[in-house]
Amino acid sequence: MNLTPDSKVLIQGFSEFISATHIAQMKAYGTNLVAGVNPGSGGQQLYDLPIFDLVEEVVEQFGAIDTTIICVHPYQVLDAALEAIASHIRQIIIISAGVPPLDMVQLLRKAEAGETLIVGPNSPGIIVPGKILLGTQPSEFYTPGSVGIVSRSSTLTYEVAWELTKAGLGQSISVSIGSDAIVGSSFLQWMQILDEDETTEAIVLVGQPGGDSEEAAARYITEAIDKPVVAYIAGRQAPAIKNWRQTGNLATVIGRAPNFGTAQSKLAAFQAADVPVAERPSQISELLKKAIH
């Protein structure tokens, strides 16, 4: 992972999910945003960025790119990501929401083969408060500190960050892995990254119904994480029958428990791992303070 201010960052495409304000914010935060790729606009300037038609042209001019932020129309995400992979970009953040799941299946096959880290789709990206902003996270809710946040929701990520900031708990790194049905990186991967991160002293995990990423993370916490972890699961009151675009329901016959993917299953997993679970976002800081001492 290269999350330092000197890592070179590219933006592919511009859509409703990224505005001039976001780009200005990233630059003000010290992110080394070198260029944008917007087919058909090559040679122009957009939002004070030099624009190219192809990713390979950017690499030619600026050398290897560390991270790309993809904001194209959801139907063009697969193509944009494959283009980035072809240009050897190893960190891809997909801001666009609503990417067709079969496109994601195709992209993940490719990414896994080349060990490319994919965050999103439907993610506001990553922020290392005080250092670098990769995506659209509103930086005003953050302060530098030692709590790592990993979340599956976008808005809820800032909600939690802001609660922490108000309680005097700064953040080391905050990532939203995306809330589409199929996303690139998992909670488990991020627990590993946060565990290895020296500035991170405690971790907040924000989950929601669907899939089994939270359960896997809970098992991993028991096995490998010594840092204090506090969890929050949204949707515990939501009806369980609703599977929230997680179409894995039919495949639950494959040796899976009947409550697979429900908030209840996630709560039980954290209980089994002795991870305190907050009732509401405003309670997270309280639990965290208890866990740290």
Partner: protein, 415 residues
Amino acid sequence: MDLLEYQVKEWFAEIGIPVLPSQRIDHPTDLKRLKIHYPVVLKSQVHAGERAKAGGVRVVETTIDAIAAAQTIFNLPIWGELPDVLLAESKYDGQEEFYLAVVLDTAVCRPVFLGCKEADVDWESAGERMQHIVVEQEFSPFYARQLALKMGLQGQLMQSVSSVLEKMYQLFVQKDLDLVEINPLAISNSGQVMALNGKVSINERALGRHPKIAEIVAKMTSRHSSSQINGHLSNWDGLDMHGKIGILGNGTGSMMATFDLVVGAGGKPGICLNLRHAFLTDTLPTTFCDRLTKGLSILAADKSTQVILINLLGSIPQAEEVAKVIAKFVQHETSELTSQVVTTNSNGNKSRQQYHTPHVVVRLAGSEFNMAKDGLATLKTQSNALVMVENLDEAVAEAVRFTKPVAAKKRSATR
């Protein structure tokens, strides 16, 4: 969203999955011009399951029987749904019946083949009899053969079943589906395979690149505008809990957290919508403001909505536009109420309770919203319909508070 059987079978036929000769029946008299031979099976085209048990499937031997049966089926609601069309299909005698499916498993992020040598699968205990193969890499027919062999099939039957699976997969990918199911796949004495019934679930996220499917969906949604079709359409990317507090959030997590908080504070959530995506019925690209406008009108149109709780936090495009949309909504709703009160007062025959103007509680936070907040704050003085709060817990408390006194009044009125 699920297609009807006759639509599924059209797709099966196009891609080369064997289906019986059949004919779409829009009216009982269509049976006079039947091109297929008797005995014929008439099937009600509804989304509801268990239609055979409910009497929606009849075998008929003659035209007279067929017309009578069709009249009955056309008037037989199944789980509240009346069929628009019937499917008349040749009768088929299978020796064996299998279950086959391709489904996208979001937990392993891959398509999965499912197969069982029984058609009436009991999902509770299917574990051991249901075989599956994960399509890990690019599809190749060997995945289909793997499943057929795992199901215990051999020789020619293994080949013909895997060829059906292969076509199911092609359909799955070509049309961006969540599920393709054949239940049952009948096997004749001679080992011939036949898809007797099938199910297809469309992925709404991909509708925009399948104009023909979007057309089908548009027709279905316009016909079943209320919460019909097994909830397949209405609760997509949202919830409808019939409570008094409608929720608009920007993201699934945010919407659900707000939902939980409302329940925790003793309130009853109503329709909850996620504004981060386009709605299912939007076939053209939308902006956040379009979705906010639409979300507000959906909530206002629901008579049980007494309060609309909007929870927006940072990173919303067009913050100023958002404020304008909210302001317009509040002012419009209020002026509409005033004009209605005036008209009905002159008629004097309608009671005041018939209008409902939802209170709007707006929770806004973030630097981009500062300007928006100022704009809305001036509105606040003109009407008490709008409340602005920055703290989420407080916003929820406000929203719940609005529903309480009214509820008390209603109770005393019915006493």
